[in-house]
């Protein structure tokens, strides 16, 4: 493929003392692609995500991100200001717990507007319109715009977190168990919403989850992790319908039993 990958991860390794976080992970993510990372807790999928997003320093490897102005650059050797700039412009991070990703004492509108203001938006009316637009897109009643997220239900908080992240038109979204901790019916609605956004916006994303239903709906490709290693990769349907590795087979069958 001649297209430059958006993200090119090479031999990424993270250790916690003698324990392995994730080991020698390599993959490419192309623009418009959604990659799912699955595995049980302790498999290293969250470690991997946090290394990719710059929240954890890996011990080895390279993470090449195709920047807007300078082409592929290793985010690990970038300066802190550059990395932080990416974090509030081209990247977005959706936390499992919306409380980690929202400012609980700032109104919903302010939460959505923050990223715009961080990169220099200085017109109150425009910021407000953008916030309103995004609240509508994530199906939050615009009447609630000046309420604080603390007054929202868990599902609404998660949708607000998504709006807050997507408002600046990020080119790469990291999601950590975005449906975790929500009721099943609320999960379904959120998944539906995410699928719509991913399709409409052509988002590139890396979604970490232990829930195969989430990746079945959202991910183009899948990476299966166990004890810090990638044990299987492939197209989502292929991996889920015809798992090759014994661990993946176990994972898929355990879900089917439920």
């Amino acid at each position: 493929m001649s297209v430059t990958p958006l993200l090119d991860v090479q031999h990424l390794t993270k250790r916690y003392g003698t324990r392995i976080g994730c080991s020698d992970v390599s993959f490419k993510l192309y623009p418009g692609e959604v990659m799912g990372v699955v595995g049980e807790s302790g498999s290293g999928k969250s470690t991997l995500l946090n290394c990719l997003a710059g929240h954890l320093p890996p011990d080895e490897g390279r993470i090449l991100f195709d920047t807007r102005t300078e082409g592929p650059r290793d985010t690990l050797t970038m300066s802190e200001p550059e990395r932080r700039m990416l974090g509030r412009t081209d990247w977005a991070f959706v936390h499992q717990n919306p409380r980690d990703g929202l400012r609980m004492r700032v109104s919903a509108g302010g939460n959505v507007g923050e990223r715009l203001m961080a990169v220099g938006a200085r017109h109150y009316g425009n910021i407000r319109n953008a916030a309103e637009d995004w609240l509508e897109r994530v199906e939050i009643d615009t009447d609630r715009m000046d309420d604080r997220p603390a007054q929202f239900s868990g599902g609404m908080q998660q949708r607000l977190q998504i709006a807050r992240n997507l408002v600046s038109g990020p080119r790469l979204v990291f999601m950590d168990e975005p449906t975790g901790g929500l009721d099943v019916s609320v999960q379904a609605r959120l998944l539906d919403l995410l699928r719509g956004l991913v399709r409409k916006m052509g988002l590139s994303a890396i979604i970490v989850t232990h829930d195969l239903a989430v990746v079945r709906l959202l991910a183009d490709r899948l990476m299966v992790m166990k004890s810090g290693d990638v044990v299987e990769t492939g197209l989502t349907d292929q991996v889920l319908d015809d798992p090759q590795h014994a661990y993946t087979q176990l994972l898929v069958s355990s879900v089917l039993q439920v």
Binding site: R88, S107, G110, G113, R115, A118, R122, Y124, G125, D146
Partner: protein, 287 residues
């Protein structure tokens, strides 16, 4: 103060602080002038007045003071408020320098909460007393975090705060200590001056801000760009009480509201006592 104690004060070094300490403070001031709006940490000393009562300003004034200087001290714009009197006396006693109430005669003006109405010139230094130097302190209480935010120019939260104001009240509700951006780089707290004074932060004089308890010095050199944070459609508004001064008739100066009786009667008078008095003097001479 008893006569004995007053005599004892003569044993202290010129302007109380020893020369080593003054040199340390002057280094911090120079650094502050070189990086406008940046908060320079300095090893603030315990002064003989309490923290929060101008120890930062006093240390800065002491460090820049020479025997030829003339100092004016104001609090709330006035020379005769208790704290201004106390600090002026301190310098009279420890530095034996000339004091004045006239803005134009002073070479050093130490102030709390106001900028004089009369425009300052290149031969003057305005020293501010600062309680909380960090403009983001009430958004982020951690010093380690706010320093990082300054270093990386992450000022989005400042505007989030203004956004919240407008969303809730229809206007920016910061009336004093209104944050500014200095020379397009550092967001700075101008100390608790009313926002009315913000436009005067762009000045011909050297402005030095001293926060004793918080151990920070920062500065705005002459002719430096100082912009009050706002939105394009909600511009900064340096408003004040819409009255003339009851004593001198000024319609442009910042006013104090004085309650004159217990039936709700009140009058508005200039907060800058020297400005008011000199206007009255001129009017009397003209009459």
């Amino acid at each position: 103060m008893t006569a004995q104690a007053a005599a004892a004060m003569d044993d202290y070094n010129f302007a109380y602080l020893d020369e080593q300490t003054k040199r340390m403070i002057r280094r911090a001031i120079l650094k502050g002038l070189a990086v406008p709006g940046y908060q320079v940490p300095f090893a603030s000393r315990e002064m003989p007045m309490p923290y929060g009562w101008g120890t930062g300003g006093v240390q800065v004034s002491a460090a820049v003071m020479t025997p030829d200087d003339t100092i004016k001290v104001i609090d709330q714009g006035a020379d005769d408020t208790t704290n201004a009197v106390s600090i002026r006396k301190f310098f009279e006693r420890t530095a034996d320098i000339d004091v004045t109430e006239r803005t134009s005669e002073a070479t050093i003006i130490q102030t709390r909460h106001r900028i004089p109405e009369e425009l300052l010139n290149e031969d003057q230094i305005l020293v501010y007393q600062v309680p909380i130097p960090e403009p983001m302190r009430f958004i982020e209480p951690r010093e380690t975090e706010t320093r990082k935010m300054h270093a990386l120019e992450e000022y989005g939260l400042m505007h989030v705060r203004l956004y919240e104001n407008i969303a809730k009240h229809g206007a920016i509700t910061t009336a004093y200590a209104y944050p500014v951006k200095v020379e397009d780089r550092y967001v700075m707290d101008p100390s608790p001056i009313p926002k009315f004074d913000n436009p005067k932060l762009e000045s011909e004089a050297i402005q030095i801000f001293g926060a004793g308890r918080e151990q920070r010095i920062y500065a705005v050199p002459p002719y430096t760009k100082v912009v009050s944070l706002d939105f394009d459609d909600y511009p900064f508004d340096p408003s004040k009480a819409n009255h003339p001064c009851a004593l001198c008739g000024s319609v442009t100066s910042y006013l104090d509201e004085v309650i004159v009786d217990d039936k709700g009667g009140r009058m508005f008078v200039c907060s800058d006592t020297d400005y008011c008095a000199s206007r009255i003097r001129r009017q009397e001479q003209a009459a």
